[in-house]
Structure formats: C-alpha cells, structure tokens
C-alpha cells in the first residue's frame, strides 16, 4: 500500500487573527504554526495502512513557504517515509494549488492519495476534489471510515444527519474528517529517525489565481451585549427580550 498524503502548514487554531497592514494577509507576529489538524487524520490513516500491510511507503507532499519543511519533518516523525516540499508562497486560491499538486502527483505511482478535508486557514475545502478531477481519479470527501479489501474501497462520508456509503476502486483520493482515527503523537524515536529521512525540495511557480484577494478584514467586533440577570429568576426577562427585542422566539 503506497500512499501520498498532502499536508499544509497553518496557523494553530488558538491563533488570534490580526490582519496585516496590506490588508491581504495575516500579521505573522506571535502566530504559532502547526500541521493542519485534518491532515493529521489523513497521515495517521496512511501510516496505519502501511503498518497493517507491513509494506509500502508513505510520501508526504507539502506546498508552501520554506518553513513548510518543519511541518514535513513532523510528518516524517509521525511515521511517513519521505517528504517533498513544493516551495512557493502558496495561495489563497485552491485552483492553482490543486494544479501544482496534480502536476507533481501525476508522475507517481500510488494506491491512495489522502488529504485533510480542508485547511483551517483559508477553509477552502476544495483542493482534494479538484486534484481528483485533474487526475481523473475516484474521490470521496469528508471521510470518517475507510475499509479497503484488495483494490475495492468503501468509505463512510459525513453528511447532514448521517453518513453516505461510497464505493470505489483504487487508486483513489480520500479527504479525511475528524473521527477517521485517533492520530498519534510523534515520539522521540520518530523525531530522531525523521532527521535522516529524505526531504526533497522543489521550487514551483503557481499559476495566477482565479480569484483576486481584494481585501482581508477582521469581522466587526460584536455589539456589546448585556447580562440579563443571575440565576433562574432572570429567565422570564431573557425570554421576553428574545421575543420582543430580538424577535427570535
């Protein structure tokens, strides 16, 4: 079982977002970066499948600035075998990113191409399906369960009110949702071993974005609310306010 996992370096979910002076990006001061949380599920799935099969390789591909190599190193520490950095500035737009990833992946042989279902920075949630279309591969998105037997796969995909059962054959693209597995933490042995694993760096040039980022702004601060009161005694006033003032009941 050979798998490729595409990962992204993103600001940690505890980051307080501050827009930079150009109003098109984040002010990097104080931002802590991490492996995109959904990519952890994708990576864990790849490593488990390799361990279960006792054979195969797990290749991680990260597209982004040079510092992405740190994130790739942590993926190697979790148990991936080799890493590729597609070095570029990255983009707010999914289409050029998907094109660059598809171009890199097109020449590779693999059984499973895994992604996190979305990156928690731009929240585009589009690159996995786009890459699948560009490569002409079956694709299941937002997957919380995956059974593979031979070349046949059955995925459980999270939808409103339940799960869809999706059947396809390998090679295929799967995007991982929380719940697929319980990702491991890298241990010291893994961290040491990761230093010796191959990490190839390639410069890539992204196509022009299909969407121009005109402006990034912080959402308006919430209007000051009010404490209606304390304890159960405040309930009638709360309900009256919800009905008469806010008109939502």
């Amino acid at each position: 079982m050979n798998t490729i996992v595409c990962i992204k370096r993103v600001p940690d979910s505890a980051t307080r977002v501050k827009v930079d002076s150009d109003r098109t990006g984040l002010d990097p001061a104080g931002v802590k970066y991490t492996l995109n949380p959904y990519d952890e599920f994708a990576l864990e799935e790849a490593i488990r499948r390799k361990e279960a099969a006792g054979a195969g390789t797990v290749t991680v591909i990260g597209l982004g600035p040079a510092a992405t190599s740190e994130t790739l190193r942590s993926a190697l520490a979790m148990g991936a075998d080799e890493a590729v950095l597609l070095s570029c500035e990255g983009s707010h737009d999914g289409l050029p990113v998907a094109r660059a990833l598809a171009a890199e992946i097109a020449g590779r042989e693999f059984d499973l191409l895994l992604f996190g279902k979305q990156a928690i920075d731009d929240d585009n949630m589009q690159v996995p399906q786009m890459v699948a279309e560009m490569l002409g591969l079956p694709c299941a998105s937002v997957v919380v369960g995956l059974e593979i037997s031979g070349r046949d796969a059955v995925a459980k995909r999270e939808v409103e009110g339940g799960h869809e059962i999706v059947e396809f054959t390998l090679p295929a693209v799967v995007s991982a949702q929380k719940g697929l597995n319980e990702p491991r933490l890298p241990n010291l042995k893994g961290i040491m071993a990761a230093k010796k694993k191959p990490l190839e760096e390639k410069d890539v040039t992204l196509e022009a974005p299909s969407l121009e980022l005109v402006e990034l702004e912080e959402p308006p601060a919430p209007a000051a609310g009010r404490i209606v009161g304390e304890g159960a005694g405040a309930v009638p006033e709360l309900v009256a306010a919800l009905r008469q003032e806010a008109k939502v009941l």
């Binding site: 949380p37 869809e164 929380k178 209606v228």
Partner: protein, 327 residues
C-alpha cells in the same frame, strides 16, 4: 454572459431550504446582471415535480435529470450534469449550497472546468460586470473579499445567509437525458445517525453544551430545551466535550468542527475558547448561560445569564414552552 446557474440539492426526493436559498441567491445575482436563472436538479422519480416549485423562488428554466440511480446523491453524475450545462450556456456564475452535497460537488465541477471557486460565501456583489464575494477565512476570524478573474464564477453559498424569497420566475421544467460517462464512485447507501436530529449547520436555533454540563447524562436538560424550542432547533457541542467523547463530532461547533449562522444560539456551560467563538460568532442572536461572569463567551453574547445552568436551563425550557403555547 449574464445568466446564473443554480444547483438544486435534492435530498430524500425533496427540495429543501438549501435548494430554495441557492435559487434565491442566484435570482438576486441574475437581477443585478440582467440575466436569467437556470437550475439543474438530479433525483429519482418525482424530482421534476419537486424541483418545479423552485419557479416560485426565481428559477426561469429548471433542467431535471430523473433516474432511479440518482435517488442518492451521485457525485460523478452530478458533476457531469453541471459541467455539460455550463458548457452549453454562457453563465456568469454557478451557485451551489454550502451543504455536504454542494461542498463535495462544487470543487469537482471547478476542477473539471478549470474555474475559480469561492466556498461558504456570505455576500455577493457585482461591479462593472465583475463578481466579488465575501467569505470567511480562519473559521470566521477574518473575512476575505475576492474578485473573480473570469466567468463562470463558482461559489457555494452558506446556509441561513441568503433568505429564500418568493419571487416567481418563468419556472419552465424540462427533462434532460441521463448523464453519460462512467461513475468513478457509487454512493450505495445512507446511514442515518442514531439520533434523528437536524444538523447543526441547518438549524435556525442551536442549543450548544460545554464542559459546564459536567456529565454526558446531563444532556437530557439540553434535549428538553431543544424540544421546547421546536422543530427548527438542534443540539451543538464544544470541542472539549466532543474530545471527551460525551458528544459526537457531528455536533461540534468551532474551528475544527462546524461553522454555524443560526438565528439563535444558546451557549450553555461553554466558556468561549477562541476556536469555539470562531464557529458561532455569526449567529444572529447569542445567549450565554454560565456560572463564571468573567467567561469570554459573555463578550460575544447578546444576552447573558450568570448562574447555575442546572437551575436556569429547566426554567428556560418551561418558560419557552409557556410563551410558545400562548403564541
């Protein structure tokens, strides 16, 4: 190049809020551009009748592919249907709902057409023929304004943001032939969740519980409040209680869960970690119930009640029932 295409989501043979909101958003955009609204729908027998009702929400031309094979959402058939429709017309924009179907489908269509896609769009505007949109990034901690470089402008529109308005269009229904091309994936079944409840992204009222609930068994209190609030209400949860295994991930609101924009959001025993606030701050009205008067959740709440939730929540359910009965 002024027409707008809308993908009408059919679920369980029904046209729901997602389809009506998408068509309404398409109507608004088409009016700005001076074009017509076309609709594509795929479903089993009876879909033409169900989708025909979208004429009342502004659809001029409704193209329906009816086939028993489409009773469940089939991604490849839907992709082929939308792509071939886009290629046969001159569309300025293609709109999808930001639902499980729409979020799966729109990137497939974008990838095949090589067109740009903006997801979870919360506002659409036109200026000099070009289309700009607003969409949240960083789970709503920032709002991006994006301008499409070329047509068609593909987008998924966030639930509860574009209201379904009755503005009749021509509403002409036509059956289109089955979709050619092999399916790479087959959706073969649907497993309903154990609890039959509205998804947290779809509900107009959300009652979310956090660690302050103390024990998963105490959720009966929140279930009772949901019941009192009616059919449009559902349960939500903080990451802490999902990670603790008290509640399913499907209920999680926040940056690694779902982003919701209901009319009314109750945060019960939720302190208000930044990653939770990111997922619910666009709710129209936020009510916080917490023992700690200094909890950050009170900074975003429109109304707060400080105190013991185990006393407040049952009293609230009772009062809601009383006023709803009185009308």
């Amino acid at each position: 190049m002024a027409d707008v295409l809308a993908f009408a989501e059919i679920r369980d043979g029904q046209v729901g809020k997602a389809a009506r909101e998408t068509v309404s958003a398409a109507r608004t955009l088409a009016n700005d551009l001076g074009g017509a609204v076309h609709v594509v729908a795929l479903g089993g027998a009876g879909t033409a009748g169900a989708a025909g009702g979208l004429g009342e929400f502004g659809a001029d031309r409704i193209m329906v592919a009816e086939d028993a094979a489409y009773e469940l959402y089939q991604p490849d058939a839907a992709t082929a249907a939308v792509v071939s429709t886009v290629k046969s017309g001159e569309y300025a924009a293609v709109l999808f709902p930001a639902s499980a179907q729409g979020k799966d489908l729109a990137p497939r269509v974008a990838g095949r057409l090589g067109s740009g896609l903006a997801t979870e769009v919360t506002a659409v505007a036109t200026e000099g023929g070009s289309i700009t949109v607003k969409r949240p990034m960083y789970a709503g901690k920032a709002i991006a304004t994006l301008r499409f470089a070329a047509a068609p402008a593909l987008m998924t529109v966030r639930a509860n943001v574009f209201p379904a308005e009755e503005r009749p269009g021509a509403g002409a229904v036509e059956q289109v032939p089955g979709i050619e091309g092999a399916s790479r994936v087959r959706v073969t079944g649907f497993e309903a969740s154990e609890r039959d409840q509205l998804d947290v992204t779809e509900a107009s009222v959300v009652v979310a519980g956090g660690r302050g609930m103390q024990d998963p068994e105490n959720w009966t209190l929140l279930e009772d409040l949901v019941e009192a609030l009616g059919d449009e209400a559902t349960l939500g949860a903080s990451r802490a209680v999902v990670d603790a295994g008290w509640r399913p991930h499907a209920e999680q609101v926040g940056q690694t869960g779902k982003t919701v924009s209901p009319n009314l959001y109750f945060a019960v025993g939720i302190s208000g970690a930044i990653q939770h606030l990111a997922g619910m701050r666009t709710a129209k009205v936020i009510v916080a119930i917490n023992r700690d008067a200094d909890a950050p959740i009170f900074n975003v709440a429109d109304y707060g009640v400080v105190g013991d939730l185990f006393e407040i929540v049952p009293a609230l359910a009772e009062e809601v029932r009383r006023v709803r009965q009185d009308g």
